[in-house]
């Protein structure tokens, strides 16, 4: 804090005396900001004319506030803010997914006799993010949130939606670039079906385990044989798109029916 101004200086400042130089006025004002005692002294030194002016200004401000539009309430948080920690936690996983798909696209380009590796891996793209969505290791406030009424399927679906919003554009870019050599629907529908399957299986064994299990199973049953035989499986032929859509709807409906199993985060 700066040095207390003298009573005489405060009186001269209050009177608006022109003899006070600019540096002294500045020094008094800086000091007043942090010294309640000197502000009280200043209040005592204020002239009747100044007090009348202050009262007049205050009344005018009140009138303007009352007559003007209601101030727009500042939202405490917007939806992106609520999930911003989650978006930050997901970004490394999204980057990893993009890198894997990029490598797959490069391999597909370099070895044209292989089936599209991008198409083979697309169904698994959101699964690492979905696994993170309900992980106590990823969410620092996990224990606080686990005891709130919002903990459950609704929260899991909200976080899964964030994952899909981040991952689907990545897949769309690869589909648009021709790396998948297939209809974009064949990239997206299996991806949605696997997301729904992860949630459904997650209600039984935990989302993380479900995601890991499904990735391992798809890799062993579909990806490895396809690469070994250099042929796309029937599951990823254009005719299968309708089946994937139906499967996605059925799995989503079954997940909703098991909503009660998601009440405790510890069941994941």
């Amino acid at each position: 804090m700066t040095t207390h101004p003298t009573l005489s200086e405060i009186d001269r400042y209050a009177a608006g005396e022109p003899g006070l130089d600019e540096a002294t006025v500045w020094s008094i004002e800086v000091h007043l900001e942090s010294c309640a005692d000197c502000r009280a002294r200043l209040a005592g030194s204020t002239t009747a004319a100044s007090r009348a002016l202050i009262a007049e200004v205050a009344a005018a401000v009140d009138r303007e506030i009352a007559a003007g539009p209601k101030p727009r309430s500042k939202a405490l948080f917007r939806t992106p803010l609520r999930q911003r920690w989650f978006v930050a936690a997901l970004l490394p996983w999204v980057a990893m997914t993009a890198a894997v798909l990029g490598t797959a696209a490069l391999l597909t380009h370099l070895v044209p006799e292989l089936p599209s590796i991008v198409l083979l891996l697309a169904p698994l793209a959101p699964l690492p993010g979905v696994a993170v969505a309900w992980s106590r290791h990823a969410d620092p406030a996990w224990e606080l949130i686990a005891g709130t009424p919002s903990a459950g399927l609704t929260m899991l679906l909200r976080r899964t939606a964030v994952v899909l919003v981040l991952v689907i554009p990545v897949l769309a870019v690869f589909a648009a670039s021709g790396a998948s050599r297939a209809n974009p629907a064949l990239m997206l529908l299996p991806c949605l079906a696997f997301t729904a399957a992860t949630l459904l299986l997650g209600s039984l064994v935990g989302v993380r385990r479900a995601a890991i299990g499904l990735m391992a199973a798809w890799a062993a049953v579909v990806v490895a044989p396809s690469l070994a035989t250099a042929e796309l499986p029937v599951l990823l032929e254009p005719a299968a798109a309708g089946a994937w859509a139906i499967l996605t709807a059925v799995l989503a409906a079954l997940t909703l029916l098991r909503a009660g199993s998601f009440r405790r985060l510890t069941s994941f």
Binding site: S73, L76, T148, R263, T266
Partner: protein
């Protein structure tokens, strides 16, 4: 998220705010709470016990974070074991865990408001409730500071603010005085006494002096079982002459634990 009306969250009267019968809770493979019978009503209850007594596991089960493995547990008359719907009980809960995680980039206000939103408070009530909770823990000056910039004591107070933002009927606080300086501890004791006038407040701590100063009742736990339950004055009355320099209540706490261990060894 469905907004909950004030009528739904209004205070209701139950014979016991917390009622446990033969409660068993596991911490991993270890049965940390082993057949606990406990009934608590309005007031401030201090949960005491040595390390490994099962205090934190009990708090986590009461907070509906961990599912009991046996026995019965009701909060405000609602079962929270088995496959019960936990939402009504959770709306009336406030919980400060021992290891309190947070989002470092959130401000105190955003964090407390986020927790109020997760507790399904009516949206219109959240800003005022957030400000009130922040004021009650003395963090008004830091309301817009990011959590990562706060000291340990301030973070703990932010944790208390999120716990009380919904005016809980059952408030669970695990080691709330950790990291607080002496003056802040005194303030927290006063806040606990205030909250305990119309809520059931359960405070887990190692500090007998906090319990004596703030609590209306003491619950002593050892090896997952209830050892003793009574007033702080009656705890002090159990003390013997040993351990000169300890307070009467600390001597009472030690004497009751020794007696329980001796009985268990027989």
């Amino acid at each position: 998220m469905r907004a909950v009306s004030t009528a739904e969250t209004a205070t209701t009267t139950h014979p016991w705010a917390i009622h446990a019968e033969a409660l068993k809770v596991r911490a991993g493979r270890h049965l940390a709470v082993d057949g606990l019978d406990l009934s608590l009503t309005t007031g401030v209850h201090g949960l005491l016990g040595p390390n490994g007594a099962g205090k934190t596991t009990l708090m986590r089960a009461l907070a509906t974070v961990v599912k009991p493995s046996g026995g019965r547990l009701t909060l405000l008359g609602r079962p929270v074991d088995g496959r019960a719907d936990l939402r009504p009980a959770r709306r009336a809960l406030g919980y400060l865990p021992q290891h309190f995680g947070y989002y470092p980039r959130f401000t105190v206000r955003e964090f407390v408001a986020y927790m109020a939103w997760l507790k399904e408070m009516p949206k219109a009530d959240i800003p005022a409730a957030t400000q009130r909770a922040i004021d009650r823990v003395g963090l008004a000056a830091k309301a817009d500071a990011r959590l990562r910039t706060l000291s340990g004591g301030m973070l703990r107070r932010a944790g208390v603010a999120q716990a009380i933002v919904n005016d809980p009927q059952v408030l669970l606080m695990d080691e709330p005085t950790v990291g607080l300086d002496p003056e802040q501890r005194l303030d927290l004791r006063e806040l606990l006494r205030d909250l305990g006038t119309d809520a059931c407040v359960l405070v887990s701590t190692h500090l007998v002096e906090d319990v004596v100063a703030a609590c209306t009742e003491v619950v002593l736990l050892n090896e997952g079982r209830l050892v003793w339950q009574g007033t702080p004055d009656s705890l002090a009355a159990h003390g013997d002459d040993g351990h000169a320099g300890d307070s009467p209540a600390e001597r009472g706490y030690s004497a009751l634990l020794r007696r329980h261990r001796a009985e268990a060894a027989r």
